[in-house]
Symmetry: C2
Subunit: 265 residues, 2 copies
């Protein structure tokens, strides 16, 4: 058990857009013991600001097409407005946060997604196996900073790129598991993976590869939850200690009382 523990938590719009929920979450995050990293997505504000500037969101199959104007907006909102406000609020809770895009310290270098079958996603950066700069991030952790990542990365040639925040969190967890015993926590709307969608308390507390197959066969997990669990299983197979799917409200005292669904080998 030689590796130091590291907790990586990902939050999205359902926390960011709700100032009361966000305040409680940041307080709980600050109280977490040990090394930690926060990864945040966007929330409604990027779309709202874009609309205010006359930029109509262009979605293809649920994914935002990032043209140059949209990239400007998400850079401003994710890496500027949201990231700096999160950092300032964390500092208020004595949490020594430092806000980062992937360009900062060359921490996350991605590859612009190629045009395929005539579909151009624009300025979207895809993570590769060597995207994560483990030494830069461990250097920050070693001098007591708590990295807070927005979902903006760069290609190393001066171009910023928009990147999926869930993927950033998972890739950070996988790459950093070389140096740390990593717990990866996704904060969702619900308390975890539910065995009965009509019962918010019916959290499945543990899933592994074998039980996942059974849950799928029995039709208990389906639709959008399947790729999430698949990705989580892939992460633990690549060295992450455990992945948790939980909700932000249940993170208080997470060091001592895990919440939600734990996904492990």
């Amino acid at each position: 058990m030689g590796l130091p523990k590291l907790t990586i938590i990902k939050i999205g719009g359902n926390v960011i857009d709700n100032s009361e929920k966000l305040h409680h979450f940041l307080k709980d995050f600050s109280a977490l013991e040990g090394l930690k990293i926060l990864v945040h997505g966007g929330g409604k504000i990027a779309s709202e600001l874009g609309l205010g500037m006359g930029i109509i969101p262009n979605m293809v199959e649920g994914r935002r097409i990032t043209d140059i104007e949209t990239l400007r907006v998400v850079t401003m909102v994710y890496a500027g407005l949201i990231n700096k406000n999160l950092v300032a609020q964390l500092q208020n809770f004595q949490c020594n946060a430092i806000g980062l895009s992937g360009a900062d310290g060359n921490s996350i270098k991605t590859v612009k997604r190629a045009v395929k079958d005539g579909l151009d996603y624009g300025y979207v950066g895809d993570i590769t196996s060597d995207s994560i700069n483990v030494s830069a991030i461990s250097n920050l952790l070693s001098v007591s900073f708590i990295p807070v990542f927005s979902a903006i990365t760069h290609d190393g040639n001066g171009q910023l790129l928009n990147t999926n925040a869930d993927t950033i969190a998972s890739s950070l967890a996988q790459s950093l598991s070389k140096l740390y015993a990593v717990d990866l926590v996704y904060c969702f709307e619900k308390k975890g993976v539910l065995s009965d969608l009509n019962d918010p308390e019916s959290v499945i507390t543990l899933i592994n590869r074998t039980s996942f197959e059974t849950l799928k066969q029995d039709g208990i997990v389906a639709d959008g939850m399947i790729p999430k669990i698949k990705n989580a299983l892939e992460a633990v197979e690549k060295g992450v200690s455990a992945v948790f799917i939980t909700c932000a409200e249940d993170l208080s005292n997470f060091n001592h009382k895990k919440s939600g669904t734990k996904i492990t080998l």
Copy 2:
């Protein structure tokens, strides 16, 4: 001679608004040897973006009044759009830049300016003698990061504040001179302090407290240049090795061939 050398360079709108000039400056900055820090102001884009969102700049005596909507815009533009693009471009030149607001790592904590004589500057943060977190910044330098500061700070209680970039540069230089031999460089439109405003080549190469008095008496320096030189003299009196007033175009090979006006004890 025991202290390691540190160069702090401040650029403003005249560099940021000109993409060709900016590109050359960033290349020269990347080539500078030794420890270094970049401080950047805003440029026209904040006002333009604000106008596009229906926010009319509110100026009193040449200073922007920062209401809550303006604070949102400058946080987005300075700490997001401009800062992250500068960092991405520096990374392209193999310069290991890390973009910061004063909230990041609690690096610059300021005090919201009090309302005086009925005048409320809004969300403006004033630097105090203990604003600069020397240990946080030296920690970043010690693990080979090159800090790039936007002019957004925080009050330590969760509130971001808009702060003058010239003052940030000067305060960084003064506080960091405890640990480093600091050269502070201001990039202006002109090549330095001119003895003849009609001759752009008439740069006064050296100014100290004594020669400054003579220059003032003889009417050679006047108006806007007087407070700039006064601030520079104050900085060198507080421990900064030298302050340079020069232009961005003359920064190539600055380690070996100083340019512009040098202000020293």
